[in-house]
Structure formats: structure tokens, C-alpha cells
């Protein structure tokens, strides 16, 4: 059983010597704070628990360790991203840097897995993939990951009322990124920023049981552009000049088409002005 999974864990003997500070006054204040919180929160609402995605992250880490399947790596990234958003909704900073580091390692491998689905990369992807997989496996074996999983098990559930307050920040940031893109439509950094902020807004909505098909569609279109941008970076490093130029030409054409697709969706959704959310199916 995990230390936080129930009962008293191995660390339960810590801090046995409570200070005098932690006396009756503290108990009264703690009770008062709890009562104040209950007046803000609607008790009929179920708290939001990170336990499911924490378990999912553990499973995908294990799957990656044992099988190194592309789907496991992808799901590991997704779980890390969703948990990071949960922590931000909770107003917590701790563990988010650890999740970001884990996600960064997994992303480098995931990028290669996406490329390997395209015929033009199949003969050159094995060596860099093996390198990135080794890096990821090394990261997964560190005590930081053990600490991260332990720490996630300790994170308490989140009151929906509090999450809703925090949700507004995700939306505001996404809309600000949308405005930046409107000001500089050719700026790749603005596209990249918008993609990340849409993803986090979408995850935040989903923690609250809402969905937005428009966000998913826009995120997919931006993801396709990002994949091509990564391919272009790889293509520029190809030693064979003829192959390099051919790939860059192909990728440029595909990028134009992907950008046109995104621009079309962007217009359709009114530059994010017409995004609607709905309750997720149970």
C-alpha cells in the first residue's frame, strides 16, 4: 500500500513532538476556518478528486517502464498535464515543476513516436527514439518520480466552488493568447502559446465536468501544426542535403495546409469568442 493510500505510512512517526503552538487555540482556529469554507462551498457538490488520474499516471509509468509502448508514453504525458492543471486549480505550486519535468521527458519521446507514423522518417527514427527512451527510463527511475507519486497521493480533493474561481484564470490566459495571435498571426511562438493555453483551459474545464468540442478541435489543429514544426527542426538537421531539401519542401507544403485548416476553424469559432462549454457525459 502506498504511504498515503490509507492507514499510517512509514512516515507516520514524524513530528511527534508537537509544539505548544499547536494547542487548543489552533484547533479552534482550524475549526473556524473549516466552517468558513463550508459557507463558501455548496456541500451538495462532490469534491473533485485527483486519485483517478494519479492512479492512471502510476499505471502509465509502469507501462512505459515495462513495455515502452508509444500509447503508454502518450497517456503518461496526458496524465501529467491533467494533474498539473488540477494542482493549479487547487492553488498549489508544489509538484507542478516535477510534473513538468516528467512531461518534458515524455514529450521528447512522444514527438519521435508521432514522426515514426510517417513513412519518410521510418528509417531514421530508431536511434534517436532509443536515446530518448533511455533518457525517459532513467528519469522514471529517479527518486524524484517516487516522491512525485507519493506527493500526489497526499494532495487533497478540491472543492468545485474553489475550482470554478480558478477556472476563470485559465480562460483569461487563453483569450489573451488568442488576442496575441490576432495581433501577430505569423508568430509561431504565439501559436505555440495558444496551443498550450487551450490545452490547459480544456483540462481545467474537464476537471469541473464540462466539455468543449470547439477547444478539442482547435487543439487538434494546433497540435498538427506543432508536429510539423518538430519535423521541420529534425529535417534541418538531416546530413543528406538532397533529402533535407526535399523534406523541408514537403513539410512546408503540409504546414501551409495545416495552417489553412486552423485558420478556417479559427474563423468558424470567432477567434475563441464563440467557445461554448457543456456538461460532460457522466
Amino acid at each position: 500500500m502506498h504511504p498515503c493510500g490509507g492507514g499510517q505510512g512509514p512516515s507516520s512517526n514524524l513530528d511527534l513532538s508537537d509544539d505548544a503552538e499547536a494547542g487548543l487555540e489552533e484547533r479552534l482556529e482550524s475549526r473556524a476556518a473549516g466552517e468558513a469554507l463550508r459557507t463558501v462551498n455548496d456541500e451538495s457538490e462532490q469534491p473533485i478528486s485527483p486519485a483517478g488520474w494519479t492512479a492512471r499516471l502510476e499505471r502509465e509509468i509502469e507501462r512505459t517502464r515495462t513495455a515502452a509502448e508509444p500509447e503508454g508514453v502518450h497517456q503518461l504525458r496526458v496524465a501529467a498535464g491533467r494533474l498539473s492543471v488540477f494542482l493549479e486549480l487547487s492553488g498549489r505550486r508544489a509538484l507542478r515543476d516535477d510534473l513538468r519535468t516528467l512531461r518534458r521527458h515524455a514529450t521528447r519521446l512522444r514527438d519521435l513516436d508521432v514522426m515514426s507514423e510517417k513513412e519518410r522518417w521510418r528509417d531514421v527514427i530508431d536511434v534517436p527514439r532509443a536515446h530518448e527512451l533511455a533518457q525517459l527510463l532513467e528519469a522514471l527511475a529517479t527518486s524524484r518520480i517516487a516522491g512525485l507519486l507519493h506527493g500526489l497521493h497526499c494532495v487533497p480533493d478540491l472543492a468545485p466552488a474553489r475550482a470554478r474561481v480558478a477556472l476563470a484564470r485559465f480562460e483569461k490566459r487563453a483569450r489573451r493568447a488568442a488576442q496575441q495571435l490576432e495581433r501577430e498571426p505569423a508568430d509561431d511562438a504565439a501559436l505555440h502559446r495558444l496551443r498550450r493555453r487551450l490545452r490547459r483551459w480544456r483540462y481545467a474545464l474537464e476537471w469541473l465536468g464540462s466539455k468543449s468540442k470547439q477547444l478539442v478541435t482547435l487543439q487538434d489543429a494546433l497540435g498538427a501544426l506543432q508536429d510539423l514544426s518538430i519535423e521541420a527542426t529534425r529535417a534541418r538537421a538531416l546530413p543528406d542535403e538532397e533529402r533535407r531539401e526535399r523534406y523541408l519542401t514537403e513539410i512546408a507544403a503540409e504546414s501551409r495546409a495545416a495552417r489553412a485548416r486552423f485558420d478556417e476553424l479559427w474563423q468558424e469559432h470567432g477567434h475563441l469568442r464563440h467557445v461554448h462549454t457543456s456538461e460532460a457525459a457522466p
Binding site: G9, S12, D15, A22, H150
Partner: protein, 163 residues
């Protein structure tokens, strides 16, 4: 390396229905530690990295300390255990804070200052961290290679904040 050892702030009391690892800081603990952080700011303390134990009360203390940190917050299970070389091997940076628990922090401070095996210094530890208290150590983060620059109980840090 400049090392700041921080004991977590005041947390919920132990209770049979509450898992020890999931004890959160109390409202009073938060308020007091926030004042302590302002005191640390007065002392000119800042960190490149904060290492913290995975237990909730240490996570929440690290969160409050984060405003003094220019870099990452990094979780380590070694801060929730008896001291070991594995903890020291993880440390990186010149100005570093560690957020942990008693009795491990006292043991760590004694080990870093006195050297020897951790078990030898455990019972002679001259440090008694109050919740939210800190010790400032300087030197190479190896047993017996650090010296104590200062030891601040939380009340002193809060008093500094009021100056």
C-alpha cells in the same frame, strides 16, 4: 552551498481518521509562516531551488516559501526519511532550501556539521526545530563539511518581518 533547512509550518493535529501524510497546514500555520517568509526576505534569503518532502504539510510550506525561489521546486522522498547520502547527492545549486520534518532535520543539521555516521549524531543533535523554524548552513553539502551561520526560531522570523 548555502543551505536553509526549514521545518514545515503548523499543521493539523494527528487524528485517527486523518492519514499522517495528508495533514494540511492550519490557517494559523499558514499565516504565521507567511510572516516568517517576510522575515526571511528581510534577511535577504533567496533560493535557486527548494527541495521538499512529499508529505502534504511540507508541500504546502514549500508553496509558501516559493516566493523566495527563482528556480524549481523539487520533491524528494529523502526528506521524509532518516538522513542518507542519497539526499545530499540530489542537491544542486548554490542557494538551496530543504523543507522537511523532525526528527530528520535535526539529524541532518547535526550530520552536516559534525560528520560521522547519521546514527552517531542522532542523539547529540543540538538543534530543535520548531515548526516553521529554520537553520542556515554554509559549506560543502557533505557530512562534517558545513557550519552553522544562524538558527532562527519562527517567532524571531516573524519579529524580523515586523521591523
Amino acid at each position: 552551498m548555502n543551505l536553509c533547512l526549514v521545518r514545515h509550518a503548523i499543521a493539523e493535529e494527528r487524528a485517527p481518521e486523518r492519514e499522517d501524510d495528508r495533514r494540511a497546514l492550519t490557517a494559523r500555520g499558514r499565516a504565521r509562516f507567511q510572516a516568517s517568509v517576510r522575515g526571511m526576505q528581510r534577511l535577504g534569503l533567496s533560493f535557486e531551488r527548494i527541495y521538499f518532502s512529499p508529505l502534504l504539510r511540507a508541500q504546502e510550506t514549500a508553496d509558501l516559501l516559493a516566493e523566495l525561489c527563482s528556480g524549481e521546486l523539487q520533491v524528494t522522498p529523502h526528506l521524509a526519511r532518516s538522513v542518507s547520502p542519497a539526499l545530499l547527492d540530489e542537491l544542486a545549486g548554490e542557494d538551496v532550501a530543504l523543507v522537511g520534518h523532525e526528527p530528520h532535520l535535526s539529524e541532518l543539521a547535526a550530520w552536516l556539521v559534525l560528520g560521522g555516521a547519521p546514527s552517531e549524531t542522532r542523539d547529540v543533535a543540538p538543534f530543535a526545530f520548531k515548526k516553521g523554524g529554520i537553520a542556515l548552513l554554509q559549506g560543502e553539502a557533505r557530512p562534517g563539511r558545513m557550519s552553522v551561520r544562524a538558527f532562527y526560531p519562527p517567532a524571531t522570523l516573524r519579529a524580523l518581518a515586523r521591523l
